[in-house]
């Protein structure tokens, strides 16, 4: 960095840095208040919400965790994990079907699939609820998992199809000449090459399913079946008199996501830039 800058350039660089610092702090403010608030007492928070917790105490955490948090956590883990895994397997197979064979109408089907990515979940809510009620599946995990799988599939298939199509055809042909079956080619040639997109997809789907509120709210109505997101939505009114407990609960709910994000940042960004249109 021996490059010399003119004074004007220096002003430009400094002001840009300052703007970035401003933007960063704005992005960080709620997180800061959440974490520091969780370590304060109610009076400390009300008197000086912005100060650092000088005498951190963990009463908020024990209060939050002694509520139904462990149950909600378990439910969220169970639903998210199962939905994401099944989606991954189904999407990988389907994407292989789209990428490996050219058949009449394939591009039309793919086109329809892409447009399904933007259908808002609220549109599907009433028909699926009626269906769930007919089957007696309201307040069962299998209903929510099924709906999640259906909603995650279009994007998942789209992402993987794009990737599978980029695998050089010579590789799969070589395997076939050696007498490998379609399944064998898929498992031993295609899947080992597809680590990064599969990780990307898993992370994007994990975050989506973990954060989903509307469907979980409607399909899991009994108290012991609630997911974390539904739980913390009601948590606020129950603990309206203890802000540290609320903040501690929010911190606990964010932690798994934060860890996933830190470790999977690169893959997550790849997934989003691959043309994702996932909202919440």
């Amino acid at each position: 960095m021996s490059k010399k800058y003119t004074p004007i350039q220096k002003v430009g660089i400094t002001s840009r840095q300052l703007i970035l610092i401003l933007i960063t702090s704005m992005a960080a403010v709620p997180g800061y208040l959440m974490v520091t608030g969780s370590l304060k007492t109610q009076e400390e928070f009300l008197n000086s919400p912005w100060s650092l917790p000088l005498h951190p105490n963990f009463k908020g955490y024990s209060a939050a965790w002694n509520d139904q948090f462990p149950t909600w956590f378990r439910n969220s883990f169970f639903v998210t994990l199962l939905a994401v895994l099944i989606t991954l397997v189904m999407a990988a197979c389907a994407a292989w079907g789209f990428a490996h064979w050219k058949w009449k109408g394939r591009d039309t089907v793919l086109g329809i699939l892409i447009s399904l990515m933007v259908v808002p979940p609220v549109v599907l809510l009433i028909p699926l609820f009626t269906l769930g009620a007919k089957l007696g599946w309201i307040s069962t995990f299998r209903m929510l998992i099924l709906v999640y799988i259906g909603l995650m599939l279009p994007f998942s298939i789209y992402l993987l199809t794009n990737f599978f199509r980029a695998i050089p055809v010579s590789l799969t042909e070589a395997a076939e000449i050696d007498g490998a079956s379609d399944f064998r080619t898929f498992r031993s040639v295609v899947l080992p090459l597809s680590g990064p997109p599969l990780i990307t997809l898993t992370i994007v789907n994990l975050l989506w399913a973990w954060n989903e509120l509307l469907l979980a709210l409607v399909f899991l109505q009994s108290d012991d079946k609630k997911t974390l997101m539904v739980g913390i939505t009601g948590f606020q009114s129950r603990y309206s008199l203890s802000i540290p407990t609320i903040m501690a609960g929010m911190t606990i709910a964010t932690l798994p996501l934060f860890i996933t994000y830190i470790f999977g940042q690169r893959y997550f960004i790849t997934g989003l830039t691959a043309g994702s249109v996932k909202g919440e």
């Binding site: 050219k102 929010m250 830039t273």
Partner: protein
Amino acid sequence: MIKSVPTEFGITAPRKLGAVTGRSSRSGPFLWILPAGMCVILIFGYSIIDLVQQSFKYRGDWVGFENFSLVLTDPLFRIAIFHNFLLLFTVPILASLSFLCAVLLFETRKGMKFYRSAVFLPYILPIPVIGVVFGQLLQLNGALNSALRAMGFENLALDWLGDPGQALWTMSAIIIWKEVGFGTILILARLISLPLETIEAARIDGAGFFRLHLKVTLPQLKPVILFYIINEAIVMVSWVFNYVYVMTNGQGGPGNATVVSELYIYRSAFQNKSPELAATAALLLLLATLIFIIGFFKIQRNTNRGVFNE
């Protein structure tokens, strides 16, 4: 570094798998697609057909367009749609802010990774958490107002969420706060993958920061910015339920100040027990989204040319 977008592999790959026709297939594609296909058809196909049917019926009887006229004349539905329309005004703000952030990050060498993670962080936070934390932050005597009062801006300390004239704007500010990270990352990823020659050439010709990015960078980023705009427009019309539900305890208050179409549907179905009206409103929402889907699809075609149409 951000890895290049997977969709682009297909453009550069000399031969594509799907290009082979007439392959003597031993299992055929349909068995592979069947499980996923059935699931998608059940969730989307069944739902949309059922939705259309329900919206023409009342307690099982055919009523023609009666539900539609009921919904369309319901003042609350009109208010909800109007609120969605107002939320659309955040889209240009989002696009410009994201572009600005992306360019700033692109120009910064020192600490770029740190800033990038920080700017992106709001996007991954769950909306229920955001709603609860902002709800506390924006109380009349909350953290923001106490900071404003301490700095002497007494007049700016508004009742952010309690004032009906203010609540929707507060909500849009929160949505902007969260969604800007997505746009920044999206645009930055494209920016990094642009050929450096044009930017360098413009620099050598003496183009300053603003000229360079407005005249050289912006035109090249047009497809990705358009994609983001369409995407966010869809978000504002049909994916804002979570914000409203969490911040107003499912009521869309104060009064009806933050009722949006999704909340209208949810309330009609589960609080007022009239699923037919909810289905009708949902069908109307789907039709509105369809307009955006078509736009989205056109951009997809232009940016991914060669991936889906060989």
